[in-house]
């Protein structure tokens, strides 16, 4: 493009709306930070690292909830990433355009199911299954971090799949053909050409899905047990997965939020939880979006 485009009415109007959106986000942040100030003054960094949350004793530490969030997200990812990327390889590399679109629409419909419906399915099908399958480890119930993670995995599967499919389709067909002409078979072509070149897009798909997983509340809420102060004895072990837990978002969704409203310090702690969740999700999503938009090299 040569020269500067003149400001048109459309540009003015849409520009104004964009500024409004940014201002709203900034206002939200300012509001959250101000509202949460009392708890930061009292706890300092201890708010992030503290392992105890007893609001009657005015102790606020969110580490167990952070652990719960990370654990649930990792389980979800461990389940959904291989399945989703595997399915995307099938649709992007082996299906005809027509069939691919049909499958994609079906998968995207799955992504549109309200999460509370997933939650009900989790109670109906998953809770007992986890309890029975893990019986020899003696879980107290089927409401565990593992259950929440599996359910979340099912929920983010469509996101991972459809975004991975898009990423794979950005690799030009001529690249695959050149590899085939050199004598590579279809598997080698997928491994050395498609997956390799789509890698940033695949990582973006995973990060965007994780962003969604961290913020997801209601489905996890229904199956995770919502047990506070579950800091594991050993951080890197699978045992805590079979115990009930709490994530940042399930805590915020609980009735404690309503109780807290009357007490400035308690309320500040709840808002600070929201702020941490917001920062976490925004950070992960921002990296994902950035990777996704990074231009293809060819």
């Amino acid at each position: 493009m040569t020269g500067r485009r003149r400001w048109s009415l459309t540009k003015w109007v849409s520009g104004t709306f964009s500024v409004f959106a940014l201002l709203a986000l900034a206002a939200l942040l300012v509001l959250f930070i101000r509202q949460s100030l009392p708890v930061w003054r009292q706890e300092g960094w201890g708010f992030l690292t503290g392992k105890r949350w007893f609001y009657r004793q005015e102790e606020f530490g969110l580490a167990p909830m952070l652990h719960g969030t990370v654990a649930v997200a990792l389980v979800a990812l461990g389940l959904a990433a291989p399945l989703g990327i595997g399915a995307a390889i099938f649709t992007a590399e082996f299906l005809s355009t027509r069939l691919r679109l049909i499958v994609k629409v079906a998968i995207e419909l799955l992504a549109g199911i309200p999460s509370v419906v997933y939650g009900l399915l989790g109670i109906l099908l998953l809770r007992d299954w986890v309890y029975e399958a893990m019986e020899r480890f003696e879980p107290l119930s089927g409401d565990t971090l593992l259950t929440g993670g599996i359910l979340l995995g099912v929920m983010i599967l469509p996101t991972i799949m459809t975004l991975s499919d898009d990423a794979l389709r950005t690799v030009p067909a001529s690249q695959r053909l050149a590899a085939r002409a050199l004598g590579l078979n279809s598997t080698e072509t997928v491994l050395h050409v498609s997956l390799r070149q789509a890698l940033p897009g695949l990582v973006a798909a995973i990060l965007l899905a994780v962003g969604r997983a961290c913020g997801e509340m209601i489905a996890v809420f229904l199956v995770v047990g919502r047990q506070d102060n579950q800091w594991p004895d050993k951080l890197f072990s699978a045992k805590p997965l079979l115990e009930a837990g709490q994530t940042l978002s399930t805590k915020l969704g609980s009735s404690e939020t309503n109780i807290a409203y009357g007490d400035p310090l308690h309320w500040a702690a709840m808002v600070a939880l929201g702020l941490v969740l917001l920062a976490l999700v925004t950070f992960i999503t921002a990296i994902g979006v950035r990777l996704q938009r990074s231009p293809h090299e060819t």
Partner: protein, 250 residues
Amino acid sequence: MTDPSLFQIRGLTVTSGVLPLLQSVNLDIPAGGVFGFIGPSGAGKSTLLKSLNRLLELTPGLSITGEVKFKASPIYAPAVDPNALRARIGMLFQQPVIFPASILANVLFGVKRLGILPRRELHDAAERALREAALWDEVKDRLKGSALNLSIGQQQRLCLARTLACQPDVLLMDEPTSALDNRSTAAIEDLVLELQSRQPIVLVTHNLPQASRLCGRLALLCAGRLVMFGPTAEVLDAPALEQCLTPSSC
């Protein structure tokens, strides 16, 4: 080998739905020199070329019937592994297709995956291939640099080096200079003339002066049919050529 022809094509017909792309082509391609396919756009030159290494069947929706023999063995027989076949038959496309990686990684892309050379010989193989493609002097100091920074002419020679590194029995070239400027075209043409002494080359071109410079024998295609074939001078002088290149006739 008693049979002197490299490819024997018998009754090759390719259709896309009901649309015929090639109609019962019979042709022998000899085992030496440069053999050219000429004809107007849409005549089926590329289709015929891609049927020789079975790359054509990767395009969905085509039906391919008839027989093609490569060095006297039928390549469309059920027992033939098309991947192994393609590894023996090098191919150069109209547009250079560069993988987004280093120059070295590009040259070795095929040969590494095919596992035809031990690891310690790979570097020598890369140098040999780049020398054969007349690219070595231009890139020897930046082998680890991105291949995407090369000019389009250099990229096409890199593609040639990549396929030469696999030591193919024959090279197929699908209008390899049509995307290039005059200087790069001359470089590729020189390479074709040099390489033909080592391995046979089948070249698709719509550029008749190029065909007359490079090819020993030509086949003229028109609307999916083989019109004539023979020594270059003969085909270029034939009245059929004039007819075929007049747009109304095809």
